[in-house]
């Protein structure tokens, strides 16, 4: 059983006890503990269940590579699943629960999967797709849905705050171990602006635990001195708990800083995402230890050798009394020495190499440890925890030599440099033939805008394993990076350290060498996703030879740890099965983030009110005060309707429509796009932009126009007014102003740059109010000023003048079919003008109306709406707008496209009105179906409904839709199924789309 030792633990502050709970059980740890070390100190070796087979799992590692020990943290708005206990710092009141089991951690029904595991082989999911359709629907899908997912998604809104932080530096150094510190020191001393980030709370990386010395001092002393020197440099910024998350194009990098997680009582920002631009990036990210594959290597108590000594040395935690060490390299002997020095028992070291002669092995021998070379583990004994191992010869098939009781197995399969950040932006790797790992190839770095490499690697991440080499490499890398960014390093030499000679590792990945299928089916590669040696071998036999295919087929390396632990082991097994070399198999792609980062940190401040800016008109405050029910339109917020006491939304819309038809309505039309197009060639330009002629529009007149893309599809519409000889004012849709302005600029800057035209988007410079209804003129005449009579200002004209003392521009245009004046005033006077209209209009029954009434009014008149009748696949001809397509012009944007064969096809769906026989309202988004079924036994669609409303004017449902041969089928009754699952088919008659005032008498008075 694991327990806390009475001494040791240089990361701990034993004077500060920290209380926490695991599965509701009260436990104690110390300040400086991770949740992992604290759980082990409390004897909690079983912490979770595996994803697929629900096997009992314990803590395997001590850092970011931990695959097993994932827990739920927090509650309600701070609940988060899948948190690694090894990277979670302990804080008072921490609440953790285990996950992926039912009913409890100790007794999990899902473990039955373990016993049927031979029916759940590699590619299990894909194989179920090949079963009869009925089996998928009723057998596999329900099972997979029930068991899918790791942990549970949070239900409550995130209670924490997050932020982004921007930094521009000369050099970003990722990693605060010896290499990172030395590289930062060299570059900082040269004068470069350096940001040095370390993902854990502690500087120094593995050096203090590995017992190395620098300049004759223990590593801790050198680390402390170096930090003091760095602290004094104003050009160097140091950050712990800050993980280098990703490297992107042209020196862009993200770092993820934990601020609030370990000190929730301070109620600070939880995570900060650093958005960094660095001229050079140095990754000093160290290496991760690899596991070994032997039968039962996932049983709680089997751990990485480095993790075992981390817990002993760093946290004063014994993970067990008796530890069997199994290794293919020298480094595991450091663990042997640590354990012995802590007074713990190491009954046996199994070294698969034929001899163990390195200095560390010799030292272990001197400590009286029994070392068996050429030997391996045949299998681990135990189920919920290790109780012993059976040994065998590595060379054989696993015949048992002896059984050794123990409660921990410490394994070491060698070290893999962390090359993730190097690889994110295209850095390539080399296979190291002597150390059996991939290391960065300095000749193929990620390249920046100048074509030169902008990422450099230092220390162990670069494949250097001995401290002296690490420091030398880091110093040289820091110097080079400083030089590239314009700083000359003074001629200091790197600190000295021992050469640390080692015996070469043996490329052993599975043990014993001749293990049979029963053993291979118990050898785990990916612990989190439950991928075994046998699965990878099966994938290879079934033809998945590419490493990327094998990854997806077996899910190897696809869990939240992204294969940090055993990707190399998986590659080795695959290369063996394919009888090829590891470098020929290659690696899968490394993608950011290095470890999972919170979604909240990605969003940063952009949530709630700050999610995006809201555009408001000058009349917005009045709308809020008058109980407007708002809807978003583009970035604008517009009133959908204005509810009066006791009214439903529908009631309000109906009242607003009828009041506008019968008396007087006011609409805030300020959101409509307004673009001034001016210059000697402006008319020529607008003739290209619009489908109809704008150059011949007389000064003082207005014309409705359509714009199409080069594909011929309708893109925007609106009324154009000719202001003077050289000036036009183009109205666009509410959402289209910026887009259309950009579109105009694109053509003017990139195609017709010799045309003398200037554009300005003046949308927000004006407030615009539509005064609509039979009483509109009476109101304006009462206010006095300009002549707004039908004779002086007829339909489709505009004029400047005063109304009620305001300088205005009045357009006689109508989107409702009523007598209508759209009146623009400078934005700053919009609210005052609106107030005047409301007050003075009282005697004429004035009421504001919202966007929904606007929609109903226009639909009753059969006017199209961009985004309803159009969806990016509709051409003007589909909507019966041929009258707006100039035949006189030789060209306009979209003209050529509209004669392509598909556009000219007579079978395109065309716009018609739809009138339900029973007067009901057709549901939004409904389709029109024809007779019979298609080859897939589905209904044949012959059209779709584009706009559908209840018309209070006509007291019935009205709709528009695009229907096959629609205009030729006037009077025909068609079927429109509802989408509520009842199978109801609504009968509707095809009619003309203009439902109200077909002759236009009401607007033209």
């Amino acid at each position: 059983m694991s327990t806390r030792l009475n001494s040791g633990g240089h990361l701990l502050n034993r004077s500060c006890v920290v209380n926490f709970t695991f599965n509701g059980k009260k436990m104690q740890g110390y300040e400086g503990d991770t949740l992992a070390s604290a759980l082990l100190a409390n004897g909690q070796t079983l912490v979770g269940r595996s994803f697929k087979y629900h096997r009992p799992r314990g803590i395997m590692a001590s850092g970011v590579e931990e695959p097993n020990a994932l827990v739920n943290l927090g509650a309600q708005g701070r609940f988060e699943p899948n948190q690694r206990v090894t990277t979670t710092e302990l804080f008072p009141g921490l609440e953790a629960t285990s996950q992926n089991h039912w009913p409890s951690l100790e007794l999990d029904v899902g473990v039955l999967n373990n016993y049927v595991s031979r029916f759940l082989p590699a590619g299990f999911y894909y194989k179920t797709f090949m079963a009869p359709r009925v089996a998928w629907k009723h057998v596999f899908e329900p099972i997979i849905r029930k068991s899918a997912g790791l942990g549970k998604a949070p239900k409550d809104r995130d209670a924490d705050r997050y932020e982004h932080f921007y930094a521009h530096v000369d050099i970003l150094v990722v990693g605060g171990g010896l290499a990172g510190l030395q590289a930062g020191l060299t570059a900082g001393a040269a004068g470069a602006k350096v940001l040095l980030v370390e993902q854990t709370a502690n500087w120094g990386g593995r050096a203090p635990v590995d017992g190395v010395s620098v300049d004759g001092d223990p590593a801790e002393t050198w680390v402390k001195k170096t930090l003091q020197a760095l602290d004094k440099m104003p050009n160097v910024t140091l950050r712990t708990r800050c993980m280098g998350s990703g490297v992107y194009d042209h020196g862009y990098a993200l770092a993820y800083e934990g601020i609030g997680d370990h000190q929730p009582e301070k109620k600070m920002v939880r995570h900060r995402l650093w958005r960094i631009r660095a001229k050079q990036i140095i990754t000093a990210t160290g290496a991760l230890e690899r596991p070994l594959s032997f039968a039962g290597n996932d049983i709680p108590g089997v751990m990485l050798a480095s993790a075992v000594r981390d817990y002993v040395d760093g946290y004063g935690v014994s993970v067990g009394d008796r530890t069997v060490v199994v290794t293919n390299n020298d480094d595991a002997y450091r663990t042997v020495i640590s354990l012995k020095e802590a007074g713990l028992d190491v009954p046996l070291v199994l070294d698969v190499r034929s001899e163990a002669t390195g200095p560390l092995a010799e030292k272990a021998r001197e400590l009286g440890v029994r070392i068996e070379t050429g030997k391996a583990i045949s299998r681990v004994i135990g189920s919920k925890k290790v109780t012993g191992v059976e040994t065998c010869s590595q060379a054989g098939e696993g015949a048992v030599l002896e059984a050794i009781p123990c409660d921990v197995v410490a394994m070491s399969g060698g070290w893999s440099p962390v090359v993730h950040l190097w690889s994110h932006c295209g850095g390539k790797l080399d296979w190291d033939e002597t150390q059996f790992h991939f290391r960065p190839d300095p000749n193929r770095p990620p390249t920046g805008a100048d074509g030169a490499g902008f990422v450099r690697v230092a220390g162990t991440a670069n494949g250097f394993m001995a401290t002296a080499d690490v420091l030398k490499d880091a110093h040289a890398t820091g110097k080079t990076a400083a030089k590239i960014t314009g700083y000359v390093s003074s001629r200091t030499t790197p600190p000295k350290s021992d050469a640390e000679p080692t015996q070469a590792m043996a490329p052993v990945w599975i043990m014993p060498q001749g293990a049979g299928i029963r053993k291979r089916a118990k050898m785990w590669l990916d612990f989190q996703n439950d991928v075994k040696v046998s699965d990878v071998q099966l994938a290879a036999r079934e033809g998945f030879e590419s490493v990327e295919h094998t990854k997806r087929y077996t899910t190897l390396g696809m869990a939240t740890d992204q294969g940090k632990l055993s990707n190399i082991n998986g590659l080795a097994v695959l290369s063996d099965a394919l009888n090829t070399e590891i470098p020929k198999v290659g690696t899968t792609t490394f993608r950011p983030p290095y470890t999972p980062i919170s979604i909240g940190s990605i969003g940063g401040e952009a949530r709630g009110d700050l999610f995006q800016p809201v555009q408001q008109t000058p009349i917005s405050d009045w709308q809020v005060e008058n109980s407007a029910y708002f809807e978003p339109v583009g970035h604008w917020r517009r009133p959908y309707c204005f509810q009066q006491a006791g009214e439903s939304v529908e009631d309000a819309v109906n009242r607003e429509v009828l009041n506008t038809r019968n008396a007087l309505g006011l609409l805030d039309a300020s959101t409509l796009g307004k673009i001034v197009v001016k210059g000697p060639d402006a008319g020529k330009f607008l003739d290209m932009l619009y489908t109809n002629m704008m150059s011949n529009l007389a000064v003082g007149k207005c014309r409705y126009g359509l714009m199409c893309s080069e594909n011929g599809f309708l893109s925007d519409d609106g009324v154009v007014a000719r202001i003077d000889e050289n000036t036009w004012l183009c109205h666009t849709t509410t959402g289209g102003a910026d887009r259309i302005h950009g579109w105009m600029e694109d053509w003017l800057q990139c195609e017709w740059w010799d045309w003398r035209v200037y554009t300005a988007n003046v949308t927000e410079q004006f407030a615009q109010v539509a005064v609509v209804g039979p009483n509109a003129r009476k109101l304006l005449e009462k206010l006095g000023g300009m002549d707004v009579s039908a004779e002086t200002l007829p339909f489709m004209q505009w004029a400047d003048g005063k109304i009620g003392g305001f300088e205005t521009r009045v357009f006689r245009i109508s989107f409702s079919g009523e007598l209508s004046y759209e009146i623009a005033v400078p934005a700053g006077q919009g609210r005052a003008f609106w107030d005047l209209l409301v007050d003075a209009g009282a005697e004429y029954g004035v009421m504001p109306y919202g966007t929904e009434a606007l929609h109903v009014l226009r639909a009753e008149k059969g006017f199209i709406m961009i985004g309803d009748e159009t969806d990016g696949t509709v051409i003007p001809q589909d909507l019966g707008l041929n009258w707006a397509l100039s035949k006189k012009k030789s060209d306009y944007l979209g003209k050529r496209a509209q004669v392509r064969s598909f556009m000219a096809n007579p079978d395109r769906w065309k716009l018609v009105g739809l009138e339900t026989l029973d007067g009901s309202v057709i549901p939004d988004g409904a389709y029109v179906v024809g007779e019979g079924l298609n080859d897939n036994a589905q209904a044949i669609t012959i059209g779709r409904v584009t706009s559908t409303y209840f018309s209070p004017t006509l007291k019935r449902g009205i709709a528009m839709g695009l229907v096959l041969h629609g205009p030729d089928r006037m009077g025909e009754v068609i079927g429109i199924p509802t989408i509520d699952g009842t199978g109801t088919v609504i009968k509707a008659r095809i009619v003309d789309q203009v439902f109200y005032d077909k002759t236009g008498e009401k607007q033209n008075v």
Binding site: Y248, D249, H250, G251, Y252, R277, C425, G426, T447, G448, A449, D450, G451, E710, N711, G742, E745, D746, Q749, C750, E751, W753, S890, D891, K895, R896, A897, R900, S901
Partner: protein, 107 residues
């Protein structure tokens, strides 16, 4: 995230300030064009591994469109230049030839 220099305002702009506009130097086909030519104008675009000419707009800056020559694989930028040109300037071509001797040239 790329950094491109806007040749109009001189700013080294982060990609977040820019809006991409696809392949540069397209010849507009229109009324009178053959179907195949018009189709190619609408839909056919180069997708090279290597030297490419692109349109960008400094959308959250000066608002101007400009053109960029860069390597799509290495992300090296050979230069940015005015959008008011029918083909890459000689100086840009020279930079590319120097750095990519096997480049087939602009067509």
């Amino acid at each position: 995230m790329l950094i491109l220099n806007c040749p109009y305002c001189g700013v080294d702009a982060d990609e977040t300030e820019l809006a991409p506009g696809g392949q540069a130097h397209l010849k507009r086909e229109t009324v009178g064009s053959q179907d195949a030519d018009f189709e190619a104008y609408l839909f056919a675009r180069d997708n090279p591994r290597g030297v490419h000419f692109e349109r960008w707009r400094h959308a959250y800056g000066c608002g101007k469109w400009f053109l960029a020559a860069r390597d799509t694989m290495t992300l090296e930028v050979f230069g940015t230049y005015s959008a008011q040109t029918l083909k890459p300037p000689k100086a840009i071509e020279n930079v590319i030839r120097k750095k990519r001797p096997d480049w087939k040239g602009w067509t």
